[in-house]
């Protein structure tokens, strides 16, 4: 089975600034892949290269087995690549109705077939009742769903989503995101999703490519990335991290939180990383249990976090059920569940 999209050694510069450095990954047909990276890491440029609006100086872009760009040459024009684009804030055509936006990329737009396809897609995104409305009458989330329907209409080999929910407010984002993922799954579309939001990437995608400093530093399933990040930078980027100094020997490490099991063997002086949710209050402490004093407490409603200063002055963060939050100033005993990570 060929991949829907393959990037091989893609390198791109604007003038003398390298914006993409030897980027390679592939997207399996029918999967949702997220490209996760902080702002300004070249994610949007990557999408423009795949679409055909920029041509990479080096490397190859292959869509459904067909080479579309190679080493500074665009072999297939943007309009012939079969790539659906959902830009930031949707970018619906303001001069067209919702239905005409969706049918924009169809051949013979006035045929019964196109109309049926348009209706089908509007139903898929749950907006069949809005077909005759103007884009400006829709909420931001609805606009995003129309933009997705429009991108899916010509049956593209792959749909590219560029920070599609960045402009929505937090409350709306989760529900629109769920609806979009659901529509993508039901249409069995292949999607490449660019985002800087770790939660969004981890919760929506089958595979995640982490981009840091202009290159892809790790690819894998969301669980792999979170549990066994390839570097300290990835570990810190994909989730909250507690740092401790430690001495590793094989699969154990000794640090201020005691002797911990390591996911990967290491030796010598290391930085130990554990996630805040791995740190718990120890209600039956022993003499060797790590102890400390609560110096800050944050209540989030469903859960909360405490900062605990250990005897050696290192500070750890623990995520706890909200009803377990101790008051500031309390002395607590802690324990670590699961395996820790160690990086030299």
């Amino acid at each position: 089975m060929t991949a829907a999209l393959e990037l091989i050694g893609v390198t791109h510069r604007f003038d003398d600034t390298v914006v993409l450095d030897n980027v390679s990954f592939q997207v399996e047909a029918g999967s949702i892949t997220a490209v996760l990276g902080p702002s300004g890491v070249g994610k949007t440029t990557l999408l423009r290269i795949i679409c055909g609006f920029e041509t990479p100086q080096q490397g190859r872009v292959v869509i459904s087995g067909r080479e579309v760009a190679r080493d500074g040459d665009s072999l297939v024009a943007a309009e012939h690549r079969g790539v659906g684009l959902v830009p930031q804030e949707g970018a619906l055509f303001p001069h067209l109705s919702v239905a005409n936006n969706v049918s924009f990329g169809l051949k013979q737009r006035r045929s019964g077939e196109s109309r049926a396809r348009t209706n089908h897609l509007l139903e898929l995104v749950g907006l069949a009742h809005c077909a005759d409305r103007r884009p400006e009458e829709l909420s931001g989330g609805m606009q995003q769903r129309v933009a997705l329907a429009r991108a899916l209409a010509p049956n593209p080999a792959i749909v590219l989503l560029d920070e599609p929910f960045a402009s929505l407010d937090a409350a709306l984002r989760a529900s629109v995101r769920a609806e979009v993922v659901d529509a993508l799954r039901r249409s069995k579309a292949t999607a490449l999703w660019v985002t800087h939001d770790q939660q969004e990437a981890l919760s929506c995608a089958d595979n995640v490519a982490v981009m840091l400093d202009r290159r892809v530093v790790q690819r894998g399933t969301p669980v792999d990335l979170y549990r066994s990040p390839a570097s300290r930078a990835v570990a810190e980027f994909v989730g909250e991290a507690v740092h401790l100094r430690g001495q590793a020997r094989g699969t154990t490490v000794s640090c201020a939180m005691g002797n911990l099991q390591l996911a990967r063997a290491a030796d010598g002086s290391v930085t130990v990383i554990v996630r805040p949710e791995q740190i718990e209050l120890d209600d039956s402490p022993t003499e060797t249990s790590p102890r400390g004093r609560v110096i800050a407490s944050r209540f989030y409603g469903h859960d909360g976090e405490i900062d605990v200063r250990l005897p050696n002055d290192e500070v750890v963060v623990a995520r706890l059920h909200a009803r377990l939050l101790p008051p500031v100033g309390a002395d607590v005993a802690l324990r670590v569940t699961g395996q820790a990570l160690a990086f030299a």
């Binding site: 679409c51 055909g52 309009e79 830009p87 990329g105 991108a151």
Partner: protein
Amino acid sequence: MTRLLRAPVAIAAPAMLAAVVAIVPLVYLFDASLSRGVENAIREIFLARTATLVLRTLLLTFIVTVACAVVGTINAWLVVRSSLPLRPMWLMLLAMPLAIPTYLSAFAWVSWIPTVSGFLGASIVLTLASYPYVMLPVAAMLRGADPMLEDVARSLGASAPSALIRVTLRQIAPAIWAGSLLVALYVVSDFGAVAAMRLETFTWVIYGAYRAGFNPTRAATLALVLVAMALLLIVLERHFRSRVTQRLGAGTARSTVRRTTLTLVAPALVVALTSIGFGIGVPLVSSIRWTREASATTDWSAVFTTIMSSFWIGFLTGLATLLLALPVGILIARFKGRLADVTEGAVFVTHSLPGIVVALSVVYLGINLVRPLYQQVPLLVFGQVIIFLPLVVGAVRTSIEQSRLALEDVSRSLGVSRMATVFRVTIPLAIPGIAAGGALAVLGAMKELPTTLILRPTEVETLATSIWKYSVVSDFGAVGPYAVSLMLLAALPTALLSHVAVVKVAR
């Protein structure tokens, strides 16, 4: 981010044609001015009477520009920021002087108060005709400027007038500068008002040199000096326009209207009423009076024929200008590159060419290259296209630049080619700008005097030439019907223009 892809031929070819059309007059100017040698040309420039001419033109320009900056800014503030009721209607009325040609206003003033003729009259007429060039950009910028800044200034202890001056005036300063320089450009280029007021400025003297046996060297050399002045103004204008920035950060669109006290509104209202009263009132009332006085002797079928020729020439000019301006606007806004730069430069320089200069160069072109077309409608339209091309390109280009690039990218990714995207996305989104550009050209062509006087077929009279023909012999009774017709016809595109401006300002 520049587009790496070059423009399609269907865009590039007509744009190149437009660039060639735009520089034709300049080629002529240099050719004619240097035809008797460089020294002769230099001698013409340094004649004492040329110096007087320069000084007089500069003084007129300075006085009118300052007056327009004040009047235009006050009117803009009144229609955007004050709590005056019916503000869109006020804006429309205040923009109406754009519909009235300066020679018509000038004749109306002279027939009303004969002693005003001369420098004073020209200053009054040009101020009343040109302040909208300051008012419209300032109103747009006031609308776009963040009104919260004024509130912040107030909360920091500044009084209302002090906040107005220290914050708001500073915010809109670039728009005032840009608008004022545009006014200056139109004053140095104006032919109608100074001709009607018999004030010897550049344009009037150039016309005289042409009439008196067509002395091409003197006319062309003077025209070159005029073009140099205009070019300087337009370079400055562009510098200030580039500083016309919008607010920092998006923020939420809030009403920009501020509760205003009578002490602030009353003086502004006096200015506005004076602008409307003298700017529209004087020519309108005079024209109606003339028409009624002479109603018995008016040959209405001649008036009708003249209206039709004005309308057709205006329509043809509008259409031809749009057809050239559209590819140029698209090229400059969307396909940046060397070709776009060259085309932009050519059109930009053309903006500094006064109508009289373009007319002279097209005469030269007609006599030397396309004799059969000399004093035929196509050449007249050609001359007017050169004059209005920069304005229309500006309108088209601005509205294209305002639409999001992402929309065109989406269209391409949906399988629509670049040319089809231009037709299905770029142009439909730019319709307001295109309509405004077309209206500008039609309006301009109907008002345009020197080009029509010089290039029209001898048997064709337009409203502009008829008004001129009867006014110079003070036969105002005969002028009346033509004047009223021209104002009514010109009111249509002006209403469309100020509607576009209102929509922009009201957004």
